[in-house]
Assembly symmetry: C2
Amino acid sequence: MKYSRQRELILKSLRENCIHPTAEQLYDFILQEEPTVSLATVYRNLNLLAENGMVKKIEGLDGTAHFDHQTHDHYHFICTRCGQVFDVPYDIAPDLETAVEKQTGLKVTSYDIAFRGICQNCRKIN
Amino acid sequence: MKYSRQRELILKSLRENCIHPTAEQLYDFILQEEPTVSLATVYRNLNLLAENGMVKKIEGLDGTAHFDHQTHDHYHFICTRCGQVFDVPYDIAPDLETAVEKQTGLKVTSYDIAFRGICQNCRKIN
DNA sequence: CCTCAAAATGATAATTATTACTATTATTGT
DNA sequence: ACAATAATAGTAATAATTATCATTTTGAGG
């Protein structure tokens, strides 16, 4: 994997954006700093970075993929009203790989949990 | 919600298909019995049935939505080689809603776990 | 510091999954 | 049987993502 200015910018931008953005959201953000990057480059690099474990790709929240600069184990909660994504700490359910393997014999290489609900902000409003 | 022959057929077909099919897979299956149903009808009804809790919509496995006739609490494992989806029993991690609420204050209304790995069949082959 | 092969890019076309639209048909309560 | 309402088939439209490809950038070796 060779260096590229664009990839560095994408990674830096993701780290500055703690909202778990989609590729398109991150693209819009990046355009402000560097208006020549291509949407395809953003998609390409986010997937590449995810394959290499440098970022996390989160699927199953709302149909579109989100990206997370935090790579340590943790889960996610999406507010079904405002769409905001929150982190859920790993220790609410640690070591599920082992639990699954014990019960089913299936060897888990990765997994995600997508929690859904209404966040505290939206709950207040209504 | 009025009765419709097509919806009944869709539900019946899903129950006969324990492979957690996508809308399109189920559509192909249904065509053999009833060649006049529309793909749109399959999508419409699967979503409708899911909203009413009669089937489960599974997202986050591989980018496309799968459907499950089993409505009781359980999780899923997808083989990243052959794409087959397996059930994972609920008791490997029960009552996560409460765990999340205790730790974060967020009220969970639903959640899914998508486990990934290589299934036992694929493991044998390679 | 040149050269060149490999990798990355931007721009856009293509694909895939899903939803929207609309005229027609089926269902159901009266 | 009638009318109101919901559902359908068929297709167009949309949204998200990936593929393509000509051009540019990177980095290792002479």
